[in-house]
Amino acid sequence: MKLFRKSYISYLILFVVLFMSFMISISAGSVSVPFINTVKVLLAELFSLNLKTIPEVQHDIIIKIRVPRVFLGMIVGAGLSISGLVFQALLKNPLADPYTLGISAGAAFGAGLAIFLSYAINAYFKTLLPLFAFFGAIATVFLVYFLGRTKGRVQILTIILSGVVVSYLFSSGLVLIMSLLGDRSHEIIYWLMGSLAGYHRHLITAAAVIFIFIVFTFIFFRDLDLMSLGDDQAKSLGVNTELIRLLLFSTTSLITAISVSLTGTIGFVGLIVPHSMRMLFGPGHKRLIPASVVAGASFLPLSDTLARTVPSLLFQSGMEVPVGVVTALFGSPFFIFLLIRGKKRLWF
């Protein structure tokens, strides 16, 4: 399975997929807008043309609703993918991702707390939800990282295990909050499965920060290659493993925290995308980083498009499911497939 190891055509294909994902995602939806009108609206916006032939409603649906939503999906998809990729390399564990490290659970707890406080104290707390989620995620990373350190050294297995433990801890905290909220806990449930529907004032800032961190991560592609092979190997070739692990763990955690605070916890993206890219591009991070970013930015908007169109076609018009349901529906079979291929080959 080293289909695209050599050629640059692979990148071209990835960008074509990204473009198609973007076009499909902004064309499809519960309100039908003819594809040609979608293209016209985009061109009109890009080149400041004035096209009177298109109804105002269609223009607004595309520019004010769908484009921001797809853009959000691209950012979070890219963010979750690179988080999974980097955690897997730093921890030399094919199962590491924002979920297994407990970061998602921490963010969910933060979000749940904000919702609880909005009912218990002041409705104002609901506007602080992304902030609460963000700090929930960051707090978890600190907890997991420092639990994983023994005698000044970072033990990889301990980090994974403390991730699982902390994840359980926050999950039970969240269940406690939900039982206190009773009937009103459905908001938390929706958040737990993730959604791209929300409106975000600081979307551009978030995108810029994530982009900068992705570029920063790319600088370390050789270090990541060596560290994914093993610490002793990396050290003897001159990699400052302790420093780089701390550095990239921090930036990746920030990417995760921002992503999760925007959309809620969307599972499996950080596993499916890096693993598929490894199959296509091999284990070298020089290719894996850009490939995972672009593939993640295509995958999540497409999943979201399925989430907002298929239920509406199958069940009742206007029905949507959380995007996390779709990624999980892709993710679980994909994982079973990886497991069937054998433990030794789990990586690629």
């Binding site: 080293k2 190891r5 030399k92 600088i219 050789r222 290659d225 060596l226 994914s228 092979l229 093993g230 002793d232 190997q233 050290k235 003897s236 070739l237 001159g238 990699v239 400052n240 091999g282 284990p283 070298g284 030794k344 080959r345 990586w347 690629f348």
Partner: protein
Amino acid sequence: MVLENRKKALETRSLSVCYNGTPVLKDISISIDQGEFVSILGPNGSGKTTFIKALTGIIKDIKGEVMLFGKPVTSYRRREFARFVSFLPQDPPVTLPFLVKDIVMMGRFPYIKRFEMEKSHDIGAADYAMELMDIHHLAKRHLMELSGGEVKRVFIAQAVAQESSILFLDEPTANLDINYQVEIFKMLKKFNEEMNKTIVLITHDINHAARFAKRIVLLNKGVIVKTGDPGEVINVRDLKSVFNTEVVIEYDRERKPYILI
């Protein structure tokens, strides 16, 4: 002339290492010159791997001093250190399907600046290393398709590409067929003699050590029992005291000792 070339490559002064309070290496003082071929012998648990890991800076929690070319190892930056010292671990990692040429190129890591690509000298060094280890034909295969012997050769090539002055190898011939064992030792000997590289390796094979090494360090229970040329160290009394086994020692045409069990 020969004496002038003798530069002290490595020196330890009362080096001790403990694991959770249990001493593994005790008060080791040894000096290794540039261009030596040293073989470390000793039974399981005698501290051989710990010794090498302490010398290569992988274990940092040490007592005493380790000097590299007259400077304490702690004064080197990681990258700089990697230009002087390379290390082949006992089980090279084969968990990811990196291509052989990429693995060898990783040996150039300490030389490639963060914002630069591989230069022609890097490609040349990787090429030479693959030539020396006879793995050119494997260049585009990936690690997980290779046999144990091929994997070892690939990672030795990586260490060769690193162009360090000192090469440490932890059991380079373990679990290999006999033809590969001899082949690898011959390649290392060539590398040692032609390029004046210092080689320090761990082996379980006393006969290989006696035939190829210029010096043997006999280690037991964390202390150096004896060190010297093969003729001095390979003797019935010392081997019995360390390995607790009766051996018979014969001499080949070059007057090098070999043992019969």
